[in-house]
Amino acid sequence: MGEMEELRKEMENLKDQITAARKTFQDSTLQEAAAGVTVVGRVQLKTRKTLRGHLAKIYAMHWGTDSTLCVSASQDGKLIVWDTITTNKVNAIPLKSSWVMTCAYAPSGNLVACGGLDNMCSIYNLKGKDGNVKVMRELAAHTGYLSCCRFLSDTEIITSSGDCTCVLWDIETGTQKTVFAGHQGDAMSLGVSPDFKFFISGACDFTAKLWDIREAECRQTFGGHESDINAIGFFPNGNAVITGSDDATCKLYDLRADQELLTYQDSSIMCGVTSLAPSKSGRLLLAGHDDFNVNIWDMLKAERVGVLAGHDNRVSCIGVSTDGMACCTGSWDSFLKIWN
């Protein structure tokens, strides 16, 4: 037998091993465990604010950790930092490339980042001495579009790319510290664990991967989706991962049990999931779809408990503020809405 044949056999054996091992730990299901739990009451959120100012589709938004400011990115070529309470624009940053697909707010509040079809992640300093917001660093090395980015601190950021890799960057030197390779399709989205030790990525190979940032390795891979994973996020305690896919479903995977616990789906929902965010307790899952709506799920019971209908085009991004007080949605209709 040639080496390739042997390796293929070994691959199949290992995959069967993993499937069998997962089954032996499946002594129950979340459905069974939560059978006695009452479904959360109907969730009816109102639009409290509409943030107007972008002139084209909004592709991404991210809350600052102060739960008041947020940053949004639009293909009108601007990053806007908003005070969500007053609806004032704190900063309106013109971008070199208008083909932006992602943006992020640093936990410190000092920096924002964005990137897209320029294959770069551009870092902007919001607190420059002369008050002007300037490009601080351009992180260039990806050979595909930048789909997502998230700061670990003011000195490190993680990016995911259409080149199938994720990268940990040193912002000061502008260099790649670690390249996380393994996905066999465009990496579309990433999320950082609450303790900043791990990150998860969702990709067009239909899988989600958990990566150990410092050990620089992929620890776990989760399958089951039948199409691209567009959105991913951690459950608030960091022990589970939620994914949203073009297959119109969301899935909950437990990290310690190393398997899928629930699928959030409904025959009436036929449009892909573009974005997702858990509520502060993790009990609610908010998922944005191509059909202009946001579905709200009881995460334990997998029942739909609400809908946010208010946008006139695809909901492209969603986020719940750190204090859990509000949910922000961004849309191709060029508006952001704050709901609670």
Binding site: M4, L7, R8, E10, M11, L14, K15, Q17, I18, T19, A21, D27, S28, T29, L30, E32, A33, A34, V43, K49, T68, T84, I85, G182, Q184, G185, D205, F206, T207, E217, C218, R219, Q220, T221, G223, G224, H225, F235, P236, N237, N239, R256, A257, D258, Q259, L261, S279, K280, S281, G282, R283, L284, M299, L300, V320, G324, M325, A326, C327, N340
Partner: protein, 76 residues
């Protein structure tokens, strides 16, 4: 596990195949816990934090930072 075999697996190099096998070994050796324990922990977390979750247990409108603020002017 659907989707994690390269679509063009016939084009995979021996080097790539070796890396995939090494990765699968790492994932196979993962120390798992029972789903019953994982589920119980998730439920306990939700239970402990639901009252602090403003989207589930709404705060009174007076404490909602996004409430409509009405300004009163007094004519002197």
């Amino acid at each position: 596990m659907k989707g994690d075999t390269p679509v063009n697996s016939t084009m995979m190099s021996v080097g790539q195949a070796r890396k995939l096998v090494e990765q699968l070994k790492i994932e196979a050796s993962f120390c798992r816990i029972k789903v019953s324990k994982a589920a119980a922990d998730l439920m306990a977390y939700c239970d402990a934090h639901s009252c602090d979750d403003p989207l589930i247990s709404p705060v009174p409108i007076s404490e909602n930072p996004y409430r409509e603020k009405k300004f009163f002017c007094a004519l002197l």
